[in-house]
Point group: C2
Chain length 233, copies 2
DNA sequence: CGCGCGATTGACGCCCGTCAACTGGGGTGG
DNA sequence: CCACCCCAGTTGACGGGCGTCAATCGCGCG
């Protein structure tokens, strides 16, 4: 009674890595996959482990973070359903550049390095998709580097929150809610600041009616105000 | 009397993008290339231009910088001989993410998007190399993001200078010299600080005998001291 | 019910960005 | 060939944004 049996291969077509494959191709990709369930808080892969598996999130969310020599962590990003992770490392050939942790109970599809390389050989489209996906991530990293280098803290937080709400939000009665548990600390590690400053900023925004927040929950009530903060001169 | 006529195709094998191709393949790649000479200070491509050309630096150096909405610039990196540029944009499909400027008189090989895609089809190795190269850049971006987010200015400058000396240095009587003209402003835009702070830091290091510097020139005299600054607890 | 982790808030101070003034060397044009 | 000028660099003074330290609160899980 595997998940695989209940899954329509065509859902895989929504994964950017497998975009453009025909039904036969998608079915073969799915058959080559194995399934993994990870409980909230558990690691999916660890920084510097040999990168031998590519994952696609099926349900749940994960956090990818890099810890430096000093023990400080930087959050690279969050992985949403139908997004890929680990591809960079597997394609680049070295170890994973960060640690991935499930922030909710999650189900993932997994392919070994050998398998993904075989699939890329069979379907050159997959290699092209991988290039395109990684290029996009590289550009978003460049954008973040620019922000951290040149912008004040409040604006960085606004940018980051806007992006999170956009990519991982779900609309609720109160506004757009980040669809997974996220702490002030996480947000601080994404924006290069401290949890204290994030807390102060969110408190101020709360008083202005821009956000609503509870423990590990953030709801954006006024997206345009956030935009104004992010883009104001 | 083109440069192409005087160039051994095998030199192209040192370009990571074309690594592992056989002599026939390299020759075909070279035949598909066009040549461009760019004077110091001239743009090679502009941010947001349609990305339709991949370049390989043959001789000279270029700076790639991203300017934000506010006009602030962030230096993405410098391109050394036999390194590639523009691949991300061409593969990713959108415009160039930054502006590339020759910092010295430079010669480049250029391939149109259509050509590079044809070459990738003919030689799947090229696509794999592109993936590997871009993965490496993504990882180095992640490292820089971590540094800018978590480290003090002096240490960031030390890290950056070490990397520059490593990748673009040439050994001289006095020490290892950055092999192209670079201003305090450039270094500031690479490390997320101001030219004033860079100047003060280099002055201090000069007094300790760690670096030697002149207009647009930096020489690292004591690499281990730099390392100590970069890694000290 | 109690413990722990996430969040809040205040006080303090320092790193480094900003403003400002000056220096010097090299390239250009007369 | 010299003089001017501009650009890169240097250095001081100042102050504020935000990191750091510290204390407290309260929700939610065990």
């Amino acid at each position: 009674m595997s998940i695989r049996a209940t899954m329509d291969p065509r859902q895989l077509g929504t994964v950017s890595l497998f975009e453009g494959l025909d039904d036969r191709g998608l079915e073969r990709v799915l058959q080559a996959a194995s399934i993994r369930k990870v409980a909230a808080g558990q690691a999916i892969f660890e920084q510097e482990d040999a990168a031998d598996t590519v994952f696609v999130m099926v349900a749940g969310h994960a956090k990818v973070a890099k810890r430096g020599a000093d023990g400080q962590e930087t959050v690279i990003g969050f992985i949403n359903p139908w997004e890929m992770m680990g591809c960079v490392a597997v394609c680049g050939g070295t170890g994973y550049p960060g640690t991935a942790t499930a922030v909710e109970d999650s189900w993932l599809l997994a392919w070994s390095r050998a398998t993904i390389e075989r699939l890329m050989d069979e379907h050159s489209r997959i290699a092209r998709n991988a290039l395109s996906t990684i290029s996009g991530r590289l550009q978003s990293m460049q954008t973040r580097l620019h922000e951290v280098s040149n912008e004040r803290v409040e604006r960085r937080i606004a940018h980051t929150l806007r992006r999170l709400a956009d990519a991982s939000g779900r609309d609720t009665r109160q506004g757009r809610e980040i669809a997974f548990p996220i702490t002030r600390q996480d947000l601080a590690e994404m924006t290069g600041t401290t949890l204290h400053t994030v807390s102060r900023t969110l408190s101020a925004w709360h008083q202005q009616g821009i956000v609503e927040s509870a423990r590990q929950r953030i709801i954006v009530r006024d997206a345009s105000a956030l935009e104004r903060i992010a883009e104001s001169e």
